[in-house]
């Protein structure tokens, strides 16, 4: 399998105990404790105050981490293609709509309905950023971050253009919580650029690794505490990134395929 390289130009991270990448880096390195009391939900600056209040949690999370990663990259948000990902989409809206459909389907809110599409966050991001570039929304169950990273890295390499990758999941509520396991809020983002053009920025080498692979577990306690979120597959990579670790890790893309990742020191 061929190796490919991308530069990580910007990082975004948000969890109630680690709101923002600088805080998350410190916590994941063991240099600081988790935020206490935890933050409730992010307030993405990309949205006007009224929109910020109205935005579903999925959208607030996605725009927060996307905004953080893009700001860190110094790139213009309007020029970046984007890959958004979520394991389950907006679980709160799905619970609401399915409850309504079981009783009074004609009373469904049109806003709730159009916010229920998996690409709602991508849509709000492109609107907030004034971005006409390609944007997509993907999902891959328990491997949604790994598959989003793969899709973004592939797009970055083939189009020879930087790409924003953002992934998020929220808490399962209502009856859905009896079948879908996800608690709390977690979101991550990366701005990937082709090749190794920016001195000082981390370079990620990646390749597909056929064969069955176990999902790596988060190492530190504050990361393990987030592992009940459906986006938990992102945590081991962001621990590695925070610690600038150069040992390779293999994320699970599916039952018989891994994504081998290594930061070049």
């Amino acid at each position: 399998m061929n190796c490919h390289r991308v530069t990580i130009e910007g990082v975004g991270f948000w969890a109630p105990t680690m709101p923002g990448w600088p805080m998350a880096q410190a916590v994941l390195r063991g240099e600081a404790g988790p935020q206490d009391p935890p933050a409730r939900r992010p307030a993405p600056q990309a949205l006007a105050p009224a929109e910020r209040r109205r935005a579903p949690d999925t959208v607030a999370l996605a725009l927060e981490v996307a905004g953080e990663a893009v700001a860190a990259s110094g790139r213009a948000a309007a020029a970046l293609p984007s890959v958004f990902a979520s394991s389950h989409g907006d679980l709160a809206i799905n619970d609401h709509l399915c409850s309504m459909l079981a009783g009074t389907p004609t009373l469904i809110s049109p806003t709730k309905f159009h916010n229920s599409v998996l690409n709602a966050a991508a849509g709000y991001w492109t609107m907030a950023a004034g971005c006409h570039a390609a944007s997509t929304a993907i999902t891959a169950f328990e491997a949604s971050f790994a598959n989003a990273l793969l899709a973004g890295a592939v797009q970055c390499a083939t189009d020879d253009h930087p790409v924003l990758v953002a992934a998020y999941d929220i808490e399962a509520v209502g009856a859905l919580a009896s079948v879908t396991r996800s608690t709390g809020l977690l979101a991550v983002a990366l701005v990937l650029a082709p090749g190794t053009t920016r001195p000082g920025a981390p370079v990620l080498q990646w390749q597909l690794e056929p064969g069955t692979t176990a999902a790596p577990a988060p190492r530190c306690e504050p990361a393990r505490a987030l592992a009940t979120n459906a986006l938990a597959d992102a945590l081991p990579f962001f621990e590695t990134l925070a610690c600038a670790g150069t040992a390779p890790i293999t994320l699970r893309l599916g039952p018989a395929l891994g994504l081998r990742l290594q930061l070049l020191g």
Partner: protein, 400 residues
């Protein structure tokens, strides 16, 4: 502008729609320019509209090994796989390249949410899913692609694209990129969406559902008719004896509104330009267009203006949702199949149900099918969130 890409071979393709299972049924309906819509008879709650429903799914349970994937959407996925020899073509690609060298990239808007809706109608006394329905892999949007990957025994990358009504058009882009980078040698692309309460009553809440069979681009159009469909294509690197090819694709964003297209069609036009650039052709090389044409007031107005502004009068443009209904996340692959049928058989299709074209339409938009051998077909797919995709397909000279 993106760089030109090498075209990909389309080794096999299929579509199952309200017209019936497989290409033949769709081809006959297209030739007859007839509608396969019927008065809405779906689900426990009445809604005065017309739908494109696939017959027989209620009596077509999944084979025993796939029982944990049982739901209407996966039934339709399985029915679709068995049509037009697609299943054997996919298994043959697996055997030739190895299971890790074939990707699965499928589009869906709502996947198996119909099964989730059903679970909500029969919650237990504690307000939880009844025990037999607690299947985490079924109640998640990746359910469709996980099922298809398992049914085909594939081990390559497996991705669900869910960008509403552009989903199963954009899968061609993801697959092309993975093949170009050498990650895989072939890809199963496609999409499946089934009728469910979420979309019937969701689009109803937006006042977009028509009380009569939808009439794309008609002056008197009254909204959309929802439908369900499954479709697939097998993509491989181009070879000398290809008949049909993917020439290019373009993806772009409106950055305007969640459920209304950009009034000047900015995202749609950028998707078109990117598709032309990847194919390395000029707009004048396009012979026929399968329009997104939902029959919503705004989509058709914006799309008709784009066609009138960018294309010559010789192009034959039409919309086929009056036949199939709007199959949402499956619309991209269904309309790709309609383009491929036209290229293969030398027909440009009509616009079923539409009687009198809206004054915004230019001479490009045609109501009747026309026998016309051609080389390049374009398909438009536009989705909520301002998500646009354009696909270009070609028939090669060698095979004519």
């Amino acid at each position: 502008m993106p760089a030109r890409i090498d075209p990909l071979r389309i080794s096999a393709y299929t579509a199952t729609t309200a017209a019936g299972p497989g290409r033949q049924a769709l081809h006959e309906a297209l030739r007859a320019n007839r509608s396969a819509l019927r008065p809405n008879d779906f689900g426990p709650h009445a809604l005065d509209t017309w739908i494109g429903r696939v017959d027989g799914l209620e009596d077509a349970p999944l084979p025993e090994p796939w029982a944990p994937w049982e739901c209407r959407n996966n039934r339709l996925a399985w029915l679709g796989l068995q049509c037009d020899g697609f299943l054997s073509a996919a298994l043959d690609a697996r055997d030739r390249y190895g299971p890790a060298r074939v990707a699965v990239v499928l589009g869906t808007s709502t996947s198996s949410i119909g099964a989730t809706e059903e679970a909500y109608r029969s919650l237990d006394a504690d307000g939880r899913f009844a025990a037999p329905m607690r299947l985490p892999r079924l109640h998640t949007p990746h359910s469709l692609a996980m099922f298809v990957r398992e049914a085909l025994g594939l081990e390559g990358p497996c991705l669900t694209v869910s960008t509403a009504c552009s989903s199963s058009a954009k899968v061609f882009g993801d697959a092309e990129r993975m093949i170009r980078l050498g990650l895989v040698d072939a890809a199963i692309v496609g999409g499946v969406d089934t009728l469910c309460g979420s979309v019937l009553f969701g689009f109803n809440s937006l006042e977009l559902v028509s009380p009569e069979p939808c009439r794309p681009f008609d002056a008197q159009r009254r909204g959309i008719s929802l439908g369900e469909a499954a479709g697939y294509a097998l993509l491989e690197r181009a070879q000398a004896d290809d008949a049909l090819r993917l020439l290019g694709y373009g993806e772009a964003s409106d950055a305007h509104h969640m459920s209304t297209p950009h009034p000047q069609g900015v995202g749609a036009e950028r998707a078109l330009d990117d598709a032309l650039a990847r194919a390395g052709i000029h707009v004048g090389a396009v012979d026929t267009i399968n329009l997104h044409g939902t029959a919503s007031a705004k989509n058709d107005e914006v799309e008709a203006a784009l066609v009138a502004r960018r294309f010559g009068t010789g192009v034959h443009a039409s919309a086929t949702k009056g036949l199939t209904g709007h199959t949402l996340g499956a619309a991209g692959i269904v309309e790709a199949a309609i383009c491929l049928l036209g290229l293969e058989h030398g027909w440009c299709w009509g616009t079923p149900n539409t009687h009198v074209l809206d004054a915004v339409c230019g001479p490009q938009i045609r109501l009747e099918p026309q026998r016309r051998a051609h080389r390049v077909a374009l398909s438009h797919s536009f989705g909520f969130g301002g998500n646009n995709c354009a696909l270009l397909f070609g028939r090669t000279d060698e095979s004519r």
